[in-house]
Each structure stands twice: as structure tokens, then as C-alpha cells.
Symmetry: C2
Subunit: 479 residues, 2 copies
């Protein structure tokens, strides 16, 4: 009874997806609250996911020559104002510091919403010669943006992220780095988070304030809405000119650098929840799961059961599996629900009968399949099952995403799909922002998610205006 | 000539210790500058040291059951104000956010100078029963304190740190945790950073705002000044009462929790510089050094030399040594100076003659000893040398610290030592803050660094007032 009640506390995603999300975040203990409105507390279960994301991404960054640095958290207003498009993009949503101690500041400073301006100021002072290039710097930090409506991980007044900022001798190198990092992000989401993504370029309307080109990875959530999961920007020499980042080249002439930036955030945790979760709670891909296997003793008061369960857990840990034992005084049913709610990829049930037979029962979180396994060689078996889950979760997410991706060739088709079928819509576009604006207004918030790198020729004309088509766009409603 | 010039750019520490410090920080490329006054940029060479500190400390924390979380970076003024002593300690030095976007905030918020208030607010909402205790949370973040004069790593308007905040069912448990973390800090400094410390308790005057007891580790710098390297605070139930952190105990009564906090910061990088550095630059203990061994080819244009140097580097890396190859077009002499400036614990010189003999020359950064070693088994030899350096650097630092630690039994002795001998002074104290104040005023800033856990009985009377002594205090001038 009590077990049932525990599960029933989650709203089903079919009834109310937003409430389901909130329930999962709360019941899986990912976030908490303080009096600070619009800001989240990331609790241990949530932060451990971020630590795994961070460790793996950081490793992949460093393999490409990236180095970590740390720049100030406050930006003087005059520094923010130097790049015109950029300040217009960010000024409306920054938090302003006006007093330091008891003294009013001569110039107010904002809590960084992003650090292009600071990196530019720093590079302008620090770089002199072509020998100093490229600079491939990244920082892990928090940023503040004064959002009006907030949701844990998805939209919050503060979030954690990494922001890479690189400068290069040539425009070509900068473009290559921009694409390299976007592909690194995409591979990371697919390999590590089991989240399939569409890789593409943002339209002029949707690109980052101050960028020449913005690339993005877009994922589809369970409810058919898109989530932008990471972006990579090529700035050309715009910031370099505004901030004076110049170097003496081999030919002894002064040149402007070419610049990029790229970032991913704690929003990824929201993506994991909404791509993989179900009505029993969170479902974590094994590679990112802080706990991969939970050992749950059955009839744990019987002699020898807890000891055996403990040694089973130890065998798994020794083999490099992130395993835990739930030896609390709750019932097995409660523990199963709890493990499922927290999204732990497998549980291992072990009771007196299993011990007699020298076995345990592996239960997959994703399919609920039960696999009776001999204790002999159990660690290898669990590793195999975890790999299979990682693989299957990606394939399932991809199949669902593909099944929710539609093609529209006419305005009528486009309108009908947008009205009735949540998901991505692929359709041709003339390249005119007027069509983008009209689509957004008339189709209830459908926006261009990206111009996919992988282009298909669906028709000769723009799905909206009928003029000649220039690109296939992936459209959708987004978080 | 050019090599010499490079080294000469550092001021000698005997001439001007403060300038020597600034020179090392700059020449070893640990920090950089932006327009943001009083804030530092931590460059790759500095940040990599912090990453190693962070990784090792985090591992040690987790071994004791600590979990990481993340709390908001802004604190509403009313929340800060709830604990009276605490707010008085911090309010004069915080940065105030008064605008969010274009809107004036109803209540101003400070950028966190430390997070006791937020953790208290969070725990008050999140903890209900004795089953929820203890909570052993830590966060890695940056904090802002509006300092008037700043120096890289030592005193800056923003620094990176970890802050642990724990709550417990009993006062005894909280006290044990406070001491446990202080000892963890001390062991970390001694084992990992090769910095000997004095462990002790702060006097009432010097303890943390709001704490019942503050424990500290104090290290002695090369110039005889003390540096507080980490503190651990027992709050009793002061914050719990101010913020209402209560739980239902087993006996079904409502009780206040007991609370601790403990922190270490990027200031540790300053300690490494000032304890170990010399007139050739930085000197990093091998365990914390981002690069442990630099391979420097001699006559690198001769056939086969670069290949051999590269393969030597690869052998070291494969054995788990953090090794690099300097194959730039600079002269060997320049490379030696550069490696010494950056504090890389050993260099391996390899030239045509060495290759002929199947050997290379290991040069220790700490002693400049040259060790000719066969290439056969070189990785094991380098590991052995690195271990020896780690050991010797600690012993040397300890011997110097001990040689600069004096005992004073009378006011005259105390005054004479304070006037002429930089270092720690051990002397008995009556326990009265009046004596502390008088000593600080009359002995040019000498303060009580701590009441060492390891007490010695030097005399029966207070070194200053002659009244009965209660404790031996370790005195000194501090950063």
C-alpha cells in the first residue's frame, strides 16, 4: 500500500507533462529551494549528474587542446557596452551590482550573463604575437540571467555551465573550431547521455547576439517540444575589433584575431529527464548515472542475507561499477519504487532463495526485464547489461524522435501538423525572416530550431510563402 | 645572454619579498588582468594547480561521506540579516545587487561572501526528522568580498573555494566533524602541498562571525609571515535557532540541529608560492604540479634527438607521470630557466651524447642536483625522484618553519623577537582580549594566530600582563 502511494505521487506525463517534470525533479531529489526566488538549489543527486557530465566533457575538451581558466564574475557596464549587438542581447536580463560594501560604485557592474566581453578584454591585454595563437580557453562557472518565469534546470536565474572562448590567427581556423566543438557536443549527447540530436545552424533571427554564425544541437523531448542543448558561435573578428584583440603576424603586420565561443549548461539535466523519464520517474543512461546499480536485499532480516548483499555490492564496486546497497529498514517494494524514481539503471534483488541457488535477479530500469544471473561472474554480467541499456536507451530515444519528426511540403500540411502533432517538422524555407515571424505568430510559437547540416530537398518552394526555397529548416516549439 | 635576462627579471626575495611574489605570479603565468579592478584572472598554469587541489580534496571529502551541492550565488538582505554576529562580520564587505534587468529589486541581494545563511535557509526547509541527519554538504564556487587592497591569490575581491556546511543531531557530532575537517585540511597541506602547519583554535577575538569555535591551520611563509590556510567552524545551534533548523528526534520532540562549516580557497596557491618558491621562481611539490617532468632536448636539430626526446616523454606519460616535451625553437638555457620559473619539479635533459650512452640527465628543481640515469627503467627512476622531492620539500619547509619559530617568556623577550625576528612566536597568554589588542598595537600587527592543539607549558604567567597564564598561543604577523 505504502509502496503504491509513493509511486502515485507522480503525475502521469500524459495527464500533465509540466507537472510530471516538476514531480520527478522533486521526488528524485534533484533540486531544492531557498528563499531566493527563481534560483535553484542543486541537491546531491542532481549535482552528481552534473559532476559526471563535467568530468567527461572536460576530458573531451582537453583532448582537443583546451585549457581551463577562471575570469571575474562581475563585468563593468562600459566593458559590456563595447560590442553593440551583444549588449542589446544581454542588457535587459542582467543583475546589476551598484554597491561594494557601503560605497556606491562609480560604475555599476553586472553579474556575468556570459563572458565574451571579459575574455575579449583579457585577450586584448594578453596576446601580442602569432606565437601566442591559438588560445583555447574554457571556464566552468555559474551565470545569472534575470528570467521572469523559471523552471528547475530549464530556465533559472542562475545556472552552471562551461563557456569556451577561443581566438585564432585565421577565420578558417575559427570556423573549424566552431564546428569541431559543436560536433564534440553532439557526440557527447549521443554517446554519453543517449540523447539523439539534430546538428545545424541557427537562422539570422535565432543566432547569438554578436555572432557571425551560431551552430546548435537540438533534441526532442518526450512531449514533442524541442530543447536547444548546446551552441557554438563563430564571431569572426567582431569582438576583436570592438575590444582591440590584435597580434603581430609572421609578416610583421598587425591583424585582428578570429574568435569563437561555445557552451553547455545544467539544462542538460532537464534534457535527460524529459528524453528518458517515464511515469515511474527518472531514467538515467548508465554512463552518466551517479549510481549505476542498487543492490536490494529480500527478507533482509534472515540470517546471511545482508552479508551476502553487502559482498555482492562490494564485488560490483571492485569491478568499477558505481553500486550501492539499500539496507534501510523499508520494504523491498518501497526500495524498488525508490530506485526506479531515482533512475538507477539496474537493481539486483537477492534473497534467501537466490542465495541458495547462487544467483541474483538483475532488473533493468528501462525495460523492467528481469534477468536471473549466477553470482559467479556477476560483475561482467552487470557491465554487459549496463552497456545494453545505454545502447537501447539511445536507440529508443532515436526511434521516438524519428517517429515524431514530420515533413511538410505545403502551408496546409505545415499548419495541420503544427496543430495536431507535437514534434519536429522539416520544411523548406525561402530564407526570409518575415516567413519565420509569420510562422511563429500564426502557428502558436513554432520557430526555426536550425538549418540542419544534413540537408534534404523536400520541395522547390518555401513552405510558407511559395517563393523559391533556399534551405530545409527543422521547425518546432521549444523550451 | 637572453637566458640570463629572463631570470634577472625576477626581483630577489631578499630585496623585496612582495615584488618577488608579484614577479613569480606574473612570470609563471599564474594570473592575468582585465579591466575589473581587484579581481583576478586565473590563467591555465594557475588554474591547473587549483584543479589538482580540487580533485584531491574532493576525493578526501567524499571518503568521509561528504556530498556536493550547489546553492544560489545571491543572498537577499533579510536572509543575511537573521544571524546578528554573522551579518555584522560580513555586511561591510559585500557587493549589492539592486537591479534585475531594468527593474529595481524590491529587496537588494548580495553576491555571496560565504553561504551559512543560504545553507541554513535550505536545511530549515529540507530537514524534518532525525532520519535526515547528518547532512554533510559541500559546494565548490566563487565568493565575493569587497576588499580595499588586493593581491593575486592572497586577497582578492573574488576567490574560488569550497565551503562545507554540515548539520548534526548532537553538539558532540558537530564538534567531531569540525575537528575532523580541520585535521583533513592539515593532512592535505602536509601530504599533498608539502606545507607544514600549526593546528589550533582561534581566540574569541579572531574567530569567525557567528561561530562558537573556529579551528585553523597556520603556515609560515618564506618571509616569516603567517598565512591562515583553512578554517573549520563549530556553530553550535546559533544558526539553527536564527533560521529555525529543527528536526523531530527519536523521542518525538523537536530539537535544533548542531552545525559546522569549513573552507579552503585559491589562497593555497599563494601559500605554495611563498613557502616553496625561490629566486628562480615557482617550486611546485610533485603531487600538486600540473606538469611534473619537462623533457628538454639538447642540440635538438641533430638527427634523432627530437624523436628520442619525444619517445622519452611518451614513456613517462605511459607510466602515469605528467610529462611534457619542450620542443620549441628556444635555446636549452632558456628552456631550463622557463622550466625552473614554472616550478616543474624535474627536467630531463637529453642530447646526442646521452643518446649514445643510453642515458639522460634528471635535474631536480628543488636542489638542482643532476642525476645521470639510464633510459632503461627511466620512468621508475623519475617516480622515485619525484617522491624524494615531495618528501624533501616538506622536510625543508618544516626545518625552516621550526628555525623561525621562537619562544618568549617575558614581555622584553617577546618585544625583542617581534622587532627583530620574523616568524612564529610561542608565548603564554592570560586569555584576555585586552592583551591581544595591546600586543597587536604595540608590536606592529602581531596577532594571535591560534591556540595550538599541541600545548607546551613555557611559563606560569601571561607574556604580556604577567597574570596567570591559561594557554600557549602561537603569535605572528599575518597576510
Amino acid at each position: 500500500m505504502a509502496d503504491k502511494k509513493f509511486v502515485e505521487e507522480i503525475t502521469s506525463m500524459e495527464d500533465d507533462f509540466a507537472q510530471w517534470y516538476t514531480d520527478v525533479v522533486r521526488k528524485a531529489e534533484l533540486t531544492g529551494y531557498t528563499q531566493v526566488k527563481g534560483f535553484m538549489v542543486i541537491k546531491p543527486a542532481g549535482y552528481a549528474i552534473w559532476e559526471n557530465i563535467q568530468r567527461e566533457l572536460d576530458r573531451r575538451f582537453k583532448e582537443t587542446g583546451v585549457e581551463n581558466v577562471y575570469l571575474p564574475c562581475l563585468i563593468p557596464e562600459s566593458l559590456l557596452n563595447k560590442e553593440k549587438e551583444h549588449v542589446e542581447g544581454f542588457a535587459p536580463e542582467v543583475a546589476w551590482v551598484t554597491y561594494g560594501g557601503n560605497q556606491k560604485l562609480e560604475e555599476r557592474m553586472c553579474v556575468r550573463p556570459t563572458s565574451e566581453t571579459l575574455f575579449s578584454d583579457f585577450y586584448a591585454k594578453d596576446v601580442h604575437s602569432y606565437r601566442d595563437l591559438p588560445r583555447l580557453y574554457n571556464q566552468w562557472c555559474s551565470v545569472v540571467r534575470w528570467e521572469k518565469t523559471t523552471r528547475p534546470f530549464l530556465r533559472s536565474r542562475e545556472f552552471l555551465w562551461q563557456e569556451g572562448h577561443t581566438i585564432h590567427a585565421t577565420a578558417k581556423e575559427a570556423e573549424e573550431r566552431t564546428e569541431q566543438m559543436l560536433n564534440l557536443y553532439a557526440d557527447f549527447l549521443e554517446d554519453f547521455l543517449a540523447i539523439p540530436v539534430v546538428r545545424g545552424q541557427k537562422t539570422e533571427k535565432e543566432k547569438f547576439a554578436g555572432a557571425v554564425a551560431t551552430y546548435t544541437i537540438e533534441a526532442l523531448m518526450h512531449d514533442g517540444k524541442a530543447l536547444q542543448c548546446g551552441t557554438s558561435h563563430n564571431f569572426g573578428d567582431g569582438f576583436a575589433r570592438a575590444y582591440g584583440i590584435q597580434y603581430v603576424d609572421k609578416d610583421n603586420t598587425l591583424k585582428y584575431v578570429s574568435q569563437t565561443s561555445w557552451g553547455m549548461t545544467t539544462r542538460l539535466i532537464g534534457a535527460i529527464i524529459m528524453v528518458h523519464g517515464d511515469n515511474s520517474g527518472l531514467k538515467l543512461p548508465p554512463r552518466v548515472a551517479p549510481v549505476q546499480a542498487m543492490v536490494i536485499p529480500i527478507q533482509q532480516k534472515k540470517e546471511g542475507v545482508l552479508d551476502k548483499a553487502e559482498s555482492l555490492k562490494n564485488v560490483l564496486v571492485a569491478a568499477g561499477i558505481r553500486a550501492r546497497l539499500d539496507d534501510s529498514d523499508k520494504s523491498p517494494g518501497w526500495k524498488f519504487s525508490d530506485q526506479e524514481m531515482r533512475g538507477i539503471p539496474v537493481r539486483l534483488e537477492i534473497g534467501p532463495k537466490d542465495i541458495e541457488k547462487g544467483q541474483c535477479v538483475i532488473v533493468r530500469r528501462d525495460t523492467r526485464e528481469k534477468i536471473v544471473s549466477p553470482l559467479e561472474g556477476i560483475a561482467d554480467k552487470v557491465k554487459e547489461v549496463l552497456e545494453q541499456i545505454q545502447h537501447d536507451m539511445f536507440e529508443n530515444a532515436k526511434a521516438r524522435r524519428d517517429a515524431m519528426t514530420y515533413e511538410a511540403r505545403t502551408k496546409e500540411e505545415f499548419t495541420e501538423i503544427a496543430d495536431s502533432k507535437p514534434g519536429f517538422i522539416k520544411a523548406m524555407w525561402c530564407g526570409d525572416v518575415e516567413c519565420e515571424n509569420a510562422i511563429k505568430d500564426q502557428l502558436g510559437g513554432v520557430t526555426s530550431r536550425c538549418i540542419p547540416f544534413h540537408q534534404e530537398h523536400l520541395s522547390d518552394t518555401c513552405v510558407w510563402c511559395g517563393r523559391p526555397a533556399r534551405k530545409m529548416v527543422c521547425w518546432g516549439r521549444a523550451y
